[in-house]
Assembly symmetry: D3
Homo-oligomer: 226 residues x 6
C-alpha cells in the first residue's frame, strides 16, 4: 500500500535549543516500508520556520513572502530528514510538480517540504498522496486526534475514533480561531482529501511508533473517512 | 493603487468554437492603468482547461495531475492574454514565486496563470495581490455578485452590495455543492483575503467595462470587506 | 529495434468538440513494445494548437511566438498522451535536449512535444530518433502515403511504396504550396532523415493499427529510403 | 529600425591558433546602434565547434548530440562576444525562448548562440529576428553574396544584387551539395524569412564595416527580398 | 565606487533565541549608497546554519552536503536581509553566476548567500566583488581587525592598520587552527583578493556604523592591501 | 571502493591542433570499474579553456567571468568525455549540487566539469569525492608526483612516495608562484582533502594506465595521506 506521511514540523523540529532527534522518525518510516508499504513523506517548517517568518514579518514582508520563507525552511527540513533516511531517500527534494514526477521515478522514498505560497504543507501532503496514489495519509500532529471540543478547555471533550470529512469541517469551524493551534487540517487539505477519497489518520506524532501503528491499521488517533 | 484582477477562464475563454475576443479585456486592463493604478492579472483555465482535464481524467490521471493540466492551460491562457496586452505586459509568465519577483522587477503588467496542484487560480490571485501589495482584488466571474441564495432557484435571492469575509464563508457553505458552479471563491482564497485584509470585489466579467468601474470604486457587484 | 513514432496532432487531437480517443493509440504503442522494440513518441499540436495560434495571431503575436504557443500545446498533448500510457511512460515531458538525456535514462517510453520556435514537431521526431538511435521513424499523418501528385486533384496520382529521400524533396517541391496540407515532412526533417540515414515510413495514422503494421515491417504507406 | 545580425562563427572564430579579434565586430554592432537602430546578434560555432564536433563524432556521438555540442560552443562564443560589447550587452545569453523574453526586457543588445539540435544558428537568427520584430536581417558569411553559380568553378558566375526568396531556394538547390560550403542559408532559415517577410542581406563578414554599410541600406552583398 | 559588503552570518544572525535586529544593518547599507556608492551584499549562515549543519552531521551527512545545507541557510538569510532592504534590494537572491548577471541587470542592491559546496561565503563575496568590479570589499567579522597574534591569549598582540595580502597569509598560518575562530579570510578568498587587486577592510561588524565608516575611507579595522 | 578521478584538462585536451585521443582514458576508467570499484570523474578545461579565457580577458572580462568561461569549457569537455564512455556514463553533466544528487541516482559513471567561479576543478573533484563517499581521489597531472623542489631547476629534487597533507601545503608554498605551473592542488582542494580524510594520489596522467595502477593500490606517483 502507498502511504503518505505528513511529518509535522513542530514534531520533527520542536525547538532551536538543540539539534532535533530525527533518528526515531527515520526508523518509523523504514518500519512502514518493511511492512510492505511504499512510504512518501512531507515535512513541515516547525520552529525554524517560525523564527524566520517572525524576522521577515518584522521587516515588513507580505504574507505570501512569509509563506515562501516557511516553504524554504520546510524544504531544508525535508533535505535534512532525507539525510536521516540515508540511501533509502530520493537524493533531492522535489520543489515543483514536474520534479515530483522525476523523484517518483527513482523508486526511493520521496521527501518533500512546501510548494507555493498560500498552500500549507498539509495541502502538499494531499497533493503527494494523490500523485503517488496513496491509500492512506498519516498526519502527525502534537495532539492525539480530533476532539469534539477543545480538550484543554473542556473536560468533557472526547476524541473521535473516526469521523467523516464533512464532520471534520464542522468541528474545525466550531473550534474557530483555535484551529490554528491544533495545526490539524486546513480547509484546502480537507477538500483534497475529500475529492480523492484518501483515508486520513490524525495521530500524535510526538510518539514515533504511532506512525507504524497507523500504517498497520491500528486504531490510533482519529481516522477521517472521506 | 495596486490592483490585482482575476480574469475568470470562463470569461476570457468561454468556448472552443471560435478564438476568443480578448481585445476588450486588454483595453479594460489598460484603462485601469490609465486611471493611475498599477494592475496585475491572473488568468484561469476556462473551457480549454475543461477539455484537457476531461481527457486526462478519462485515462486515469489522478486529481493532482488534473490540476497540473489545468495550470498548464491557465499559464498558456495567460501568455496569450499577455500578447493581447502587447508591449505593456511582462514578456514572460512567472511560474513560481521566484520568477514572480523577477516579473515584478520589470515594472510591466505581470500576467500569471496557476502555480501548483491543490491551489486554485483564485488562490494564486490572492498570492499575487499579497506579493504586489494590492489594495483591491477584482474577481471577474460569470455572475454579478454574491447572492443570499441561489438566484436561479430562489426568486427571493438578493445580491449583497457588500459582505464581510466571515459571512461569505457562511454563504458559500450554505450554497453547498452549488458553490462549484458559481466559481466564486474557494475557502483557501477566502482565508488569504482575510489574512492580508485585501478588499475584494466580485463582478460579472462578461461585461469588460465592469472591471474599470470596479477600479474606479463604483458599487458594481459585491464587495467583500476583509 | 528502437522506433520513434511521430503522432500527428491532427490524428490524436482532431477536434475540440469532444475529448479525443487516445486509448487505441496508447495500445498501439504498447503493442510495438511487446513486439520486442523500444518505442519513443513525439506528439504534435493538432486542433488545440490551431485554436491558440489563431488567437495569438489575432492579437499581433509574431510568428516565432506563435510557434512557441504551438510547442506549449504539443507539450501538453504529450503529457496527456503519457497519461494514457500510464506507468509505461516516462513521468515527465523533456523540454530540452538535456532533459531528454534524463528522460532516456529512466528506461520508460519517452513522450515529447516540441522544442523551440522555427522547428516543427516532425523535426523534433528526427532529433529524438537520432538521439535514441532509432532505426525506424513512423510518421503518422492524415493521408496514406506520398503520392506522385495531389490525389484529390489528379485521378492518376499513384502512391509510392517506397521512395528515396532525394525524390521526396522533389515531389514536395512539385506539390508546391499544397505541401502544407499534407503535413508530411518539412525540408529540415527531410535533411535530418538523410544525415542520420533513418528509414521513415509515412502512414495513415487515422487507423491506429497501421502503427503496429509499420513496426512489423509491413508495406503500409510509403517508405522513405535515406 | 530593429536589425538582427547573424555573426558567422567562421568569421568571428576563424581559427584556434590565436585568440580572435572581436573588437572590430563589437565596434560595428555599436555603430549600427549609433545610427539609431536596435541591433540583436546571433553568433555561430566556427572553428571551436568544428574541433569539438569532430571529437564527439570520433567517439560515436549521434548527429543530434553533435548539434548540441555545436550549440554549447555557439553559446560560449556568444558570451565571449557579449564581453567584447561590454556594458552594452545583455548580461546573459538566452538559451530558450522564455529566456529570450527576459533578455529583450533588459533593453540591452541581446546576443544569442544556438537553441536546439536540428536547428542551425541561421534559423535561430530568423527566430530572433521574428521575436524582436526586426525589419532587416544581416547575414555575415565568408563570401560576398549569392552567385548564379559557384564562382570558384565558373568564371561567368555573377553575384545577384537582389534576389527573391523563392529564387534563392532554386539557386541553393542548383548549387547542390556545394551549398554547405557556402554556409549561406539552410532551407528552414529560408522558410522563416519568407513567412515573416524579413529583408535579408548576405554580406562578406570578413570585412566588419560591411555590417554598418548593410545597416545603412547600402547595396553591399546580396539582398533577399521576401 | 562599487563596494561589496560581506555580512558575517554570526553578526547578522548571532542567536536563535530571538529574531535578529537587521534594521541597523539595512540602514548602514543604505547609508553606503547615499554616499554615492553602489553596494553589493553577501550574507553568511551564522547560528541557523550551525544548527542545521550539526543536525545533518549527526545523521551522517558528508562534508559537502553539510556545506550545501549551510549555503541554503545563507541564501535564506540573504532573502530575509533583502526584505529588510525593501524596495532597494533586487527581488531575488541569485543562486548561480548566470542569475548573478540577471540580478546585476536590475540596478538594485544585489544580496547573495552561498554558491556551491567547498566554497565559503567569503569566497562568494570575492566573486561578487570581481563580477561587480567593486574597488572595496568590506568584510564584517566579530573581531575588530587582524592581529599580530591571538589577542585573547597574547596581551602584546597588536592590530594591523594595514597589511599586505601576502602578510595576511603568513599571519593566518601562524594563528594556525585558531584561524577558524576568527572567521576572517580563508585561503581561497585571499587568493581571489590578490588576483583581482581588491582592497579589503576587515572590520568589527557588531557595530553597524563601522560599515559606513569603512565606506567613507576611515581607518577602521584592518585594511588588506592587495 | 568509490574512487574519484580528476582528469586534468591539460592531459585530456592538451592541444587544439587535432581532436584529442580520449579512448585510452575511457578504457582506463572502465578498467577501474571492472576491478570492482565505482568510479566518478571530473574533467578540467585544458587548452580550449585557455584559448577562451585569453579571448575573454582581452576584452576586459573580470576574473570571475573568466572562471565562468573556464567552467563552461570544462563542462563541455566533461560531456565529450561522457560520449567516449558511452552507455556507461550518466547522460547529463551535473551543473550544481542538486543535479549531482540526480546524477548519482542513475547509478552510472558521473562525469562533471566545474561548478562556480572562484573554485578550481580540483576543488570540484574533492566535492564529488565527498558527496560520493570516495575513499580514493586520483589526481592526474602532467608531472609524476610531488617533488621536494622544482625538478626542472634542481637536479637534487626528489619525488615523495607519500606525504602528509600538512607537508604538501608547506611544499606548495615553498614552490611559490611555480605552483601554478604544476597545477597540483590549490589550497582549497587541500583543505577539502584534509577535512574529509580522502587519500589522494597525484599521478602522471599522460600515461593512462597510471590511473588503473593507482586504483589497484600500486605505488605510482605521490600519495597524500590526510
Amino acid at each position: 500500500m502507498n502511504i503518505t506521511i505528513k511529518m509535522s514540523g513542530h514534531v520533527l523540529f520542536p525547538s532551536l535549543g538543540a539539534p532535533p532527534d530525527l533518528g526515531a522518525y527515520a526508523s518509523a518510516v523504514r518500519d512502514v516500508r518493511e511492512l510492505g508499504n511504499r512510504p512518501f513523506v512531507v515535512v513541515g517548517g516547525g520552529e525554524p520556520a517560525r523564527f524566520y517568518i517572525k524576522t521577515a514579518r518584522r521587516y515588513g514582508a507580505d504574507e505570501s513572502t512569509c509563506d515562501q520563507v516557511g516553504i524554504t525552511v520546510a524544504n531544508l527540513n525535508a533535505a535534512i530528514f532525507a539525510e536521516a533516511l540515508g540511501e533509502d531517500a530520493c537524493p533531492f527534494v522535489p520543489r515543483d510538480f514536474d520534479e515530483l514526477g522525476r523523484a517518483l521515478a527513482t523508486g526511493k522514498i520521496v521527501v518533500m517540504g512546501g510548494l507555493q505560497p498560500g498552500q500549507s504543507t498539509n495541502a502538499v501532503a494531499c497533493v503527494l498522496a494523490e500523485r503517488s496514489r496513496s491509500e492512506l495519509l498519516i498526519n502527525t500532529t502534537t495532539v492525539d486526534g480530533i476532539y469534539s471540543s477543545d480538550p484543554k478547555a473542556d473536560p468533557s471533550a472526547r476524541r473521535f475514533e473516526s469521523i467523516s470529512a464533512a464532520d471534520v469541517a464542522r468541528v474545525l469551524e466550531h473550534l474557530g480561531s483555535r484551529a490554528g493551534e491544533y495545526d490539524l487540517l486546513d480547509p484546502v487539505a480537507l477538500k483534497l482529501i475529500q475529492r480523492s477519497k484518501i483515508t486520513t489518520r490524525i495521530i500524535d506524532g510526538r510518539e514515533p511508533t504511532n506512525i507504524v501503528r497507523a500504517a498497520r491499521g491500528e486504531a490510533v488517533g482519529t481516522a477521517i473517512i472521506p
